[in-house]
Symmetry: none
Subunit: 129 residues, 4 copies
DNA sequence: GTGGTCTAGACCACG
DNA sequence: GTGGTCTAGACCACC
């Protein structure tokens, strides 16, 4: 998985890192059970402080995307069961994106086509709860 | 339009306010040409400082969603022409949301159903530039 | 002389109006001794308040570009003698424009070509002090 | 770089500050890659509030003249590629200055000599994007 | 009346 | 230690 960060962006580095890891897992570049680089290795690869990577991993753990074992490092979790809190967040974000797209002149058909395209990039492997 | 802010959120107030106004315009609660509350009025309504509202309005103006007239206050703009930069941003965000949804056990059919539902809340009025 | 104002601009209307009148005189669309529209007429033409036009005329008078006679209205003055204060202001503004042009990748040759082009639009009529 | 502000001027402080920094960069007093003073330091140096400096820096960033890095503060950007919007603005401003100069009795030769002189103060270093 | 600017001082997020 | 956010309240420019 290739990580590319923009230190001049207003998006905090640990958020950029978190987003790229989540996208990577979603795409299937990292599969359930596979290990992530160690905190130190990831810090070197991405050219950031280990504290920053550590923060990212803690967030991914809290979100249930990875497990952290003191001996084996971090590993990708299985797909989770649908959850009402996330669904709520998803709807709110999609509503905002819909509004922005609407105001930027994007029609419903085109919007849905993009949604389809982006989800289709995800790893189709059967969900295991 | 009802504004509800969460001062304990890590999302800056001016961003929350911006998002809610964008969503409100998208939904058609505020139509093109209609006025937004004055900076002072919005500040009272939302319970925040006038400078915070001012910052929000300046951002909405820079994004092309509203116009600020020295005499008449702020008003909603017409729908814009599609633009490559926004499309890029839209795809990136939808990819991240897709990945999160995938890992939270949401299937493609359900994801697209939610996308459809949220876009359908938008004001369908034809108002091209 | 055609006046076009943008009420949504951050530049005050009376300044826009002043700038357009100065440019119009410089171009020779209004010659020395010729009358400007009355305050009321100009207010109607430009679609602004008479107070705004009045303020503009007062500024043009203070700058020595027009004379205001209670009976005959406003008229364009003759070309003035060079003046140190203005020269100072001119240099400061040209220095800022030079810096901006430099940082925007415009070379010296091109900059001077634009300067020449713009001054050449001015009325070449012999200066009368 | 020496900053001198006039608090009695009608030009907002953050604009004066912006103009002086742009001129300073153009002159080569600050070169591409070099750091600007921190927001706090500049606020002390210039005798203004940190928010005022912050606003100035945000504008310079939006104009592409500086970059703001969360870790290292603000630094001067490389020279940009020529851009049609700026050219338009440049022509409008030069036309106004030409008109003013014409009416103040400055001949074409002298005007162009001043233009040449001011641009020649700029840093000639070749630093393309 | 409107928005625009500025201050002093506080607190937080980031790395 | 850096920039980012927010407040309360003031004053000004514009129309």
């Amino acid at each position: 998985m290739i990580i590319s960060l923009d230190t001049r962006s207003s998006v905090p580095i640990y958020v950029q890192l978190r987003n790229q890891i989540v996208t990577g897992i979603g795409r299937g570049e990292l599969k359930a059970g596979e290990s992530l680089p160690t905190v130190r290795q990831m810090a070197v690869d991405a050219g950031v402080n280990t504290m920053t990577v550590n923060k990212t991993y803690q967030i991914l753990k809290a979100e249930g995307f990875i497990e952290i074992d003191r001996r084996k490092g971090a590993a990708v979790c299985d797909i989770q069961a649908p959850d009402a809190v996330f669904r709520e967040k998803l709807e709110t974000e999609l509503e905002l994106l819909s509004a922005e797209a609407r105001l930027k002149g994007i029609e419903k058909d085109e919007f849905l086509k993009i949604c389809d395209k982006m989800f289709s990039c995800m790893n189709p492997e059967t969900a295991e709860v």
